[in-house]
Symmetry: C2
Amino acid sequence: MPDQHTLEETERATSDRVGHLALNYPAAHALSSLYRAANAARAHLTRTALRPHDLTWTGFLVLWLLWIWDRMETRRVAESVGISKATLTGVTSTLVRRGLVERLPSLQDRRLVELTLTPAGRELMVVLYPQFNGAEAQLVAAVPGEALATMTTSLRQIVTTAEALED
Amino acid sequence: MPDQHTLEETERATSDRVGHLALNYPAAHALSSLYRAANAARAHLTRTALRPHDLTWTGFLVLWLLWIWDRMETRRVAESVGISKATLTGVTSTLVRRGLVERLPSLQDRRLVELTLTPAGRELMVVLYPQFNGAEAQLVAAVPGEALATMTTSLRQIVTTAEALED
DNA sequence: CCGCTATCGTACGGACCCGAACGAATCCGC
DNA sequence: GCGGATTCGTTCGGGTCCGTACGATAGCGG
């Protein structure tokens, strides 16, 4: 158990504390579950698949993206991974230092920098990604297929809503 | 758009790259959506509700927990929030420095430290939490009630599975 | 051409985050 | 009682993570 209190106890204590307020409880429970699930999944995948290769979660996301798309501008990578450009600079430096990623200054627009995998980076992903996906499958094994599809759809709607709210 | 590529393009590119491997795609898509949604929600809630009060996401989670439960041992707080004890030490120090949280050394077991909100911390939560919950409601507004319930159930199953896998 | 503006990636400071190691306190087998 | 094992919170080092500020580059109106 991640908590010394059961789910029921927590909800009762919450009700005792804030029950007099007009709150949206389904939203609160959904987002609480969302954050806990994402945190648990990230921690488990990191321990199971990434740590043996001495990779961080974010570093892996960058490698995966470059594996799928061959080369990308840094601003696109940051946007896709969901981190700031400033953070990506540091993450990229780490991956470059380990010989997995290469920086390619753009010739057309000299402000831009593109990223690509080195051969070593590609070899790593060929071995690593099937292991990673196996761990992913383990995590969702208890969720029936239909519920998983519903969940995926709802999560994407939340992403869309969040993006719309940023304007 | 968080990505210069549409979802369909990404899935096609993925298929081109790893289509010859025996992978669990529903699991991969579900966890990708899970991580993106959690990231987007966290970023939006931080900007909307937390930043005006100069609070961090993790700091807010700690405050919320102490608000609901009055006082807790640090090890329980770390477990509930999903961070390591080492991280909690730093987060707690920040909150103590801002006068929102107090450390209470346990008299029964002198290895333990309990945390509790100061009056200022309680006053902050009374104002802040309704704002936070309002932003939460905005995020899930596009998801039908039934789908939201299904999503919450599935997310909790993933949390349970992840915990079981840690043994 | 030539300022004005926008956008790029990066440097910096501060906060979070973890694993490992540590001193202090407690527990437990004998 | 008491010595070894366990558990506690903290410290430390290294790696994200962000907002801000910056120098460099590009686009654009006049």
